[in-house]
């Protein structure tokens, strides 16, 4: 059982790390502010979600797990809000590479 949980953790965190890498590659390769915004928000949200999911079986208490999920939700909310603010500013100023 322990082994199954550990394998789940390793797979989920590696997948999460893959999406963080994808977001960073997008940040470097995409042509302008707005497209880079897509890369960072979408890929990193998923990456963080997978890391949290992977850590859940390792959490010592229900409270610890709840805390990680809450932190993830707060990051989602913040990233959704901030990405809109940046997108609005970028659209007004015109997309600069």
């Amino acid at each position: 059982m322990r082994i199954a949980a550990d394998i789940f953790t390793i797979v989920a965190i590696l997948t999460g790390a893959f999406f963080f890498l994808a977001g960073t590659v997008g940040l470097l390769r995409f042509p302008d502010t707005l497209t880079r915004l897509h890369a960072l928000t979408k890929a990193d949200n998923l990456g963080l979600g997978l890391v949290v999911l992977g850590l859940l079986p390792q959490s010592s208490s229900v409270f610890g797990g709840l805390k990680m999920i809450l932190v993830w939700l707060l990051v989602l909310l913040a990233s959704a809000t901030v990405s809109q603010l940046i997108a609005r500013a970028a659209r007004r100023g015109g997309p600069h590479p």
């Binding site: 977001g23 995409f30 497209t35 998923l46 805390k67 809109q84």
Partner: protein
């Protein structure tokens, strides 16, 4: 039986008390989850933080501005989790593709939501969808930035709007 004398003293703020208590309790619960400690000093700081958060939320989102049906929204969590996965996979695919398949552009999407909490909430939720980020709004419409304008972005957003209308529009409070 004389008529209630302090009828005039019953201000609008009276009806706000349940909302204030509800929000304060919610913020304090969030604090407890983030800072699970029963030490008096920690609890005092938590109460101060909850009061400040409630005060800020009343300034930014007065109860009169309408409300969101969080319960109804919860039913959509699986759907948006899945969309969020698709969004991440979509970005990863494009980022790693040597040909970098992008055709970025703006898509204007007409929405029925009135400006205010419902529209903002819709914008926040749809920013999780694959290929679109809200980038501003005009009269009766939200401007989205799309990663690939060859994708049916507007159609998908219209579908999400249909899905969310019932959950986002409270019974009253919107003008």
């Amino acid at each position: 039986m004389r008529p209630v004398p302090d009828k005039g003293k019953e201000p609008v703020s009276h009806s706000r008390v349940p909302t204030i208590l509800e929000r304060g309790l919610l913020f304090f619960l969030v604090w407890l989850v983030l800072m699970p400690s029963v030490k008096l000093a920690d609890l005092v700081v938590g109460v101060i933080a909850a009061v400040l958060a409630t005060w800020t939320s009343l300034r930014l989102l007065p109860p009169e501005a309408g409300y969101l049906r969080f319960g109804a929204l919860l039913a959509f969590v699986p759907h948006f989790m899945w969309q969020s996965v698709l969004a991440g996979v979509d970005v990863a695919r494009r980022a790693f593709d040597p040909r970098l398949p992008l055709r970025p552009g703006f898509v204007v999407c007409r929405v029925g939501f009135p400006p205010g909490p419902a529209r903002n909430e819709f914008a926040v939720i749809t920013s999780l969808l694959p290929g679109s980020v809200p980038a501003g709004d005009v009269e009766g419409a939200i401007i989205y930035h799309a990663l690939d304008t060859r994708q049916p972005v507007a159609e998908q957003l219209a579908e999400e709007e249909k899905r969310l209308t019932a959950a986002l529009i409270g019974g009253d409070g919107h003008d």
